[in-house]
Amino acid sequence: MSIRGPGSLPPGVTFTSVWRWPRPSFRMAYRMWERNLLSYSHRWHINLVPNFFEPFFYLLAIGFGLGKFVETIKGVDYARYIAPGLAAVSGMYGASFEVSWNVFFKLHFAKLYDAVTVTPIDPEDVVVGEMMWGITRSLMYSLPFVLISAFFGLVHSWWVLLTPVAGAAVGLCFSVMGLTFSSLIPTSDFFSFYWTLFLVPMFLFSSIFFPIDSMPGWAQSLAWFSPLFHSAALFRELFGTFGTNIVAALGHFVWLLGLSAILWPVPQNIFRQRLVT
């Protein structure tokens, strides 16, 4: 189904207006987050259960099924190699679903944000609230994966206890990117571009299923620009797949926060111009 938005960007959107540093209130953003939790509370029991089945099936089919033929990657079992990458992938999709169709629907069709912004909550707070909710949903996907992986004996480091922090950075990064995209597009059809030209290629070429060393040099450099590559690498360090290099882990963590910080003002400014005309 396609949902039509207003057709184009609101007038007055310029390069400088988009990158102006926003000043959201986290207290107000929390109130937006709380509303999402309330609406989720009606369907959490049907929503959360699949989050456990998905990693289970993935590990079973790819890790242990395909793994029979692949055997080892750089000396570790295939299941052990892909588990942290898949945890990152589920975190990516968890956040992306939430801040794409759902946010677009709330913005253009349900007019939820019009109702919210007549209260002390401003458009910037709405966006930050949705980011916080995107992080929450991302963690609801990635953390069960970590638990299932641990259950199958695929985790080899106590650093894994930091996966909630790492997962939050992954959720933040994909929430900011998704919100940026959602705020810019005129119709929901554009999400298929986001999916097939952005998320899916990342899914396939970010060292989730095979190390990037096997790709040509230019492709390896390109992978460095993939947020999912850094997400997967971060999870891999924390899982202790090849041991844990905490400096490398920190590097990936900072990369994710850095991209979030750069894009951070864009959806906030565009939402403000869409909601306060």
């Binding site: 109130r31 709380e34 939820l112 109702a115 007549v118 209260t119 002390p120 909550i121």
Partner: protein, 328 residues
């Protein structure tokens, strides 16, 4: 504390002190980048506290844009706008804390239930959970929906949704309630219930600002109103003043069976009226004495299909000022 007996103040000063307007606009302008015509073109008005102030006008007159500027959801392009003494482009959070907004378009939260809509809205204002629950119930009772708390929003009728929107706008106990066409699309029962609730709010001291194109609504509710047209305010006054100042007290409407008959009526009696209009197959005569006019028509021996007379209404003022053609 205000002391009304203060001898240092003249009555005029005292009045201006007590009658601090809750909304003040001067030369207020709103232009949109994608339109050459300003949506609001330099309007001045003051809304006093505890008043019901109406914006009347055809579609596209600039009423909704004005409401959006007052409720901090549209930035003004020029002029002065003060709401509760604050600037909506800077102090929007503080203003929004104390106003309630009933939008023209139904924007209830459809994924949560009726009562939860009110609870969630209360939480947007930071009202503690326990208090939010009791206020939600209180607001539901006020609009007679207390037995629908657990319902899905989608199962409510149009009138119920509108009442729920009003209940939602009251959750922060606002000083001022802004209603954009509160009864458009409602059946007469639902409309009267809404009016009754709005009058009750006015009695409780809530300032009401409404837009409408129903003359009856404006006459029923408003203490003062302005008629807007093409972004400008044409006239301002109480409903009674506007009728008195702009149209003759009574109206005689004659319908003719065909155009020649209508033309004969115009020639024969129109100059006996203070003012007249031809609309379709009708001749509308604005007169001081309707009965006398009817006698004149009958005595003249001219033919007509039907004749009726009635007191002049706000609708006559409205149509006289904004014309009979559609503006869309």
């Amino acid at each position: 504390m205000l002391r009304f007996t203060d001898e240092n103040l003249t009555p005029a000063q005292l009045t201006s002190f007590v009658m601090q307007p809750i909304v003040r606009a001067a030369g207020l302008i709103k232009t949109y980048a994608d339109s050459p015509m300003p949506a609001v073109d330099g309007i001045d008005f003051e809304v006093q506290e505890r008043q019901c102030f109406g914006f009347l006008g055809p579609n596209g007159a600039g009423k909704t844009t004005t409401m959006r500027m007052v409720s901090c959801r549209a930035r003004r392009s020029g002029g002065v706008l003060e709401v509760m003494g604050l600037d909506p482009s800077r102090d929007q959070r503080r203003i929004k804390e104390h106003i309630g907004v009933v939008p023209q378009e139904t924007n209830l939260d459809t994924v949560i239930r009726v009562g939860e809509n009110l609870f969630a809205h209360a939480r947007y204002f930071g009202i503690p959970k326990k208090e939010a629950r009791s206020r939600a119930l209180e607001a539901l009772k006020f609009v007679q929906l207390e037995d629908r708390s657990e319902w899905d929003v989608e199962h409510l009728s149009g009138g119920m949704k509108r009442r729920l929107l009003i209940a939602r706008a009251l959750i922060n106990r606002p000083q001022m309630l802004i209603l954009d066409e509160p009864t458009t699309g409602l059946d007469p029962q639902a409309r009267h219930l809404v009016w009754d609730r709005l009058r009750e709010l006015k009695r409780q001291g809530v300032t009401l600002v409404i837009t409408t194109h129903y003359m009856e609504e404006a006459a029923q509710l408003c203490d003062r109103l302005v008629v807007m047209h093409q972004g400008k305010i044409l006239v301002e006054g109480s409903p009674r003043e506007l009728i008195r100042d702009h149209v003759a007290p009574e109206v005689v409407e004659l319908t003719a069976t065909d155009q020649p008959e209508l033309a004969r009526l115009v020639v024969g009696v129109a100059d006996r009226a203070a003012d007249h209009e031809v609309a379709g197959d009708r001749l509308i005569l604005h007169v001081d004495d309707g009965e006398a006019m009817l006698r004149t028509v009958n005595d003249s021996g001219l033919g007509y299909e039907t004749a009726a007379f009635r007191p002049a209404s706000l609708e006559d003022v409205f149509l006289k000022l904004t014309g009979r053609t559609l503006e869309e």
